[in-house]
């Protein structure tokens, strides 16, 4: 019997935490951390008599993401209540959108080894995050922290258009970049500011109907997503080959065991009794405001790459890396705008910055130093005020603490000594103290001069201009 060929069909539900300063329906801070329940008020703890008021920035971000993903914006939209009892949800209903989500019918273009394709976006809706339950095994009780309660989220629901883990990751990367470029979120999977639930089914290649799907949750990295997709595909194929049926259910991925297990089946599905939230008036996105948001849309990555290719004489590879992070691209452009050569700026980003990011396990978004300080450092090198090795040393401090390199070099006496008299005097002493090396040099051992340069640099604490040292040495010898 011929081996059957299966196709994987994947749709994604992606939750993105928006980068607003305050929560979606109250003025509490969205800042991460803080003592439990320190970022709370009567609204986000569901106290009797409290009422929600929409944070307009949330709406603006949601509309901006919708525009960036080619969605239709629902200019008259509403919030609905999703009713379910759980202690992390202080009102026992979540304010979300079901009937009239803010964005519908969009798409993004993705590119994989298999080529380019569009992934459809079914809808994007706004909702509030829940609090966090902490189970205290010792005291045998559960505690609730409502600091996250009311943090704004958007949920981006794709069409079932993806066929492989590669496509899923390309889609997520694409969303991440679009949203980061908009400044609407930092989209960090590990930290939970971007969360993806994978809906997956399989069918025989060419079959007209979709198979029964499962939903997988708790996927905290691209790696976990890829593994979970491969694992779930294999599990479903095995079931079908054994003549069993796939059950529609929610499964939880365990990244350590690299295995998913069933959380709840469709039969347990709750009736959320959605209905329009009477505490929030319908939202009207005016034509004027919509065009304002449109006008504010930034240059996205594809456009940026094209412009860099035209404007800057730097390698394609550099452009690819730099534009893969909005923050890095901003840093690059700002430093160039301060008068530094693009190639040099790019080098500092590509070599030293990437090395330090890797060493410290940081993302490009975490780069702390300012373009002013990078520009100042490059200028110090350009002006020969410091040499290359000192520059690297100073850069590490700039990277870590964003110090002013000019001031730092001054305070730590790292400036290259350009006083020829003093340098000549030191070299004369070195030459006098190393007759053997001098002789070796005269006997044609070119290497000997390297030793003398090294000795001089050491005596000068690395602050001499190597070119000048070479020149004086050759004169003296």
């Amino acid at each position: 019997m011929a081996q059957k060929i299966y196709e994987t069909v994947i749709g994604l539900e992606v939750h993105v935490e928006l980068a607003t300063k305050t929560k979606i329906f109250c003025g509490c801070s969205t800042e991460f951390g803080g003592a439990p329940n320190s970022h709370t008020c009567p609204v986000c703890t569901g106290m009797p008599g409290s009422l929600p008021v929409l944070n307009k920035q949330v709406l603006e971000y949601a509309v901006a993401v919708g525009l960036a993903t080619n969605c239709n914006i629902t200019q008259y939209c509403k919030f609905d209540r999703k009713n379910y009892f759980y202690p992390d949800n202080p009102q026992n209903y979540q304010i979300s959108q079901l009937y009239l989500p803010i964005c519908r019918n969009g798409h993004v273009e993705i590119e994989t080894a298999a080529g380019k394709k569009n992934v459809g976006i079914h809808e994007i809706h706004m909702e509030e995050d829940a609090g966090k339950l902490i189970h205290d095994e010792w005291e045998d009780c559960s505690l609730v922290d409502y600091n996250r309660s009311g943090v704004p989220l958007i949920e981006i629901v794709s069409e079932p258009d993806m066929r492989s883990a590669d496509e899923v990751i390309a889609y997520l990367e694409k969303l991440r970049l679009l949203i980061q470029y908009l400044g609407a979120s930092d989209c960090k999977l590990q930290e939970g500011s971007m969360r993806a639930d994978v809906n997956l089914s399989i069918r025989e290649m060419g079959a007209p109907e979709f198979g029964t799907r499962t939903e997988m949750k708790n996927l905290n990295s691209f790696k976990a997503i890829a593994h979970a997709i491969d694992g779930e595909r294999a599990r479903q194929i095995e079931l079908l080959e054994e003549g069993k049926a796939v059950i529609q259910e929610t499964r939880r991925w365990d990244d350590n065991k690299e295995y998913s297990y069933a959380m709840r089946s469709k039969e347990d599905a709750q009736d959320y009794r959605y209905f329009p939230d009477p505490d929030l008036t319908p939202i009207v996105v005016s034509d004027e405001w919509l065009s304002e948001i449109k006008a504010k849309q930034p240059e996205f990555r594809t456009e940026k790459i094209a412009r860099y290719q035209k404007e800057f004489d730097i390698p394609e590879y550099d452009i690819d890396i730099i534009t893969s992070s909005k923050h890095m691209a901003d840093l690059f452009e700002a430093t160039v705008a301060l008068g530094r050569e693009p190639k040099k700026v790019s080098n500092w980003l590509m070599v030293e910055t990437m090395r330090l990011l890797k060493e410290n396990m940081m993302d490009p978004e975490d780069i702390k130093y300012s373009p002013e300080h990078l520009a100042a450092l490059i200028k110090l090198v350009d002006d020969k005020a410091i040499n290359g090795s000192v520059a690297k040393e100073v850069f590490e401090v700039v990277f870590k603490e964003d110090v002013d390199p000019v001031q730092y070099v001054e305070e730590h006496g790292l400036k290259t000594v350009n006083d020829e008299g003093a340098l000549r005097k030191t070299i004369e002493e070195i030459v006098a103290a190393n007759p053997q090396s001098v002789e070796d040099y005269h006997n044609g051992k070119e290497k000997a001069i390297g030793f003398l340069v090294g000795q001089t640099m050491k005596a000068m604490h690395g602050k001499a201009d190597p070119g000048m040292v070479n020149q004086i040495l050759k004169e003296l010898l």
Partner: protein, 488 residues
Amino acid sequence: MNILAYSAVELSTAIKEKKITVREAVEAVLDQIDQKDKTLNCYVTVDSAKAYAQAEEIQKKIDAGELAGPLAGVPVAIKDNMCTKDMLTTCSSKILGNFIPAFTAEAVERLQAAGAVIIGKTNMDEFAMGSTTETSAFGVTRNPWNTEHVPGGSSGGSAAAVAAEECFFALGSDTGGSIRQPASYCGVVGLKPTYGTVSRYGLIAYGSSLDQIGPLTKTVTDCATVLETIAAHDSKDSTSVEREDTDFTKALVEDVSGMKIGIPRDYFGEGLDSDVKTAVLAAAETLKQKGAIVEEFDLPLVDYAIPCYYTIAAAEASSNLERFDGIKYGYRTESYEGLHNMYKKSRSEGFGPEVKRRIMLGAFVLSSGYFDAYYLKALRTKALIKKAFDEAFTKYDLILGPVAPTTAPVLGSSLSDPLKMYLGDIYTIAVNLAGLPGISVPCGTDKAGMPIGLQLIGDCFQEKKLIQAAYTYEKTCGGFSIAAERER
């Protein structure tokens, strides 16, 4: 003069004229409560220590000229579904029996800023669900006119407290008639403002799209004064509206000449008590004598108002009351096994039967498979009712009718037949569905001596017309209060 016989505005004037002190006013009210409230049970909470402390503070401000408003120094009672910081707020429910809010409702704060002295919190139907104040977890409130009768509801405690002179005025809330109907039963003035006029921030929600806070007072002047004080846009309430015409006391003008008043025939049909009918039509005649143009017209769809209301209000209530789960505050059952058992037991023990009935009804009409047939249909009906009123207001300035089909029923006669009780809301409910303002003004008594209320309904934001007509009627009839009755 007997301090208690003052209206709120008269009392404040007397205080400012140094005829009496704020403390004396508070004392008079607390004495009255001591004497009467054991029988009447208007209050769930009386906080005399806080009242005296406020009295002292307010007196100082009045003496220093910092408080000159018409409510400065006046003792007020607050319905127990409005949050008061550091003061028990129970909604007359066991589930909130120990609940002390961390903040004060916006409307109450506005009264405090105007120098009113909070005496305590008044009894109500549990979570404002009921028409008699008999569903309270803390005992029934009795009607001061005849203690065998109910005071109406759900703001029964507030209405009875005003009628019994246990306060000078009170705040109530009205979702389907809960201010106007008890005002009518207790012979006081009660006004439900246009939806969005008074902030709902701090009002523990029953039916969020219908709830409005409003005054219960001895006179129309007090009513306009209190409304003027509490009506304001509030950025904490998304449904709060911005309006500039909140100088309601300007409408205290004795003149209805040329005012067009429509009487819906549908409001005078079957089920209306003949004494009530006679009194209300006599009131219409009085306004006609004063120059109003009064005519009958048809207001269809009234029959649909009750099912429409009970669907929408119950749906919203079922969701609004989900937060009472025994986790964060309020009543939690003594013993339980696991989370869901705790939810079930806390809520089963914490809520009374009428609240449970409405939660179940609301959950049912929102559940999948029934949502379209009930909830959505109710929303469409609501829109049609609004449209019918819109049409009426192209012809009339005001609509006049009874507040309730009968006067206050005797205690214990209503709860056994909830459907019949629901039908009693027929004349008040449509006003909430359409978001309109409505006022109840005393217009006589029935053969048994129980008060009857006249209802005037205005178009959205037309409270001034209501006040002007009610004021004219009150002046013409020489006022009508429990004190006047007593002296008669």
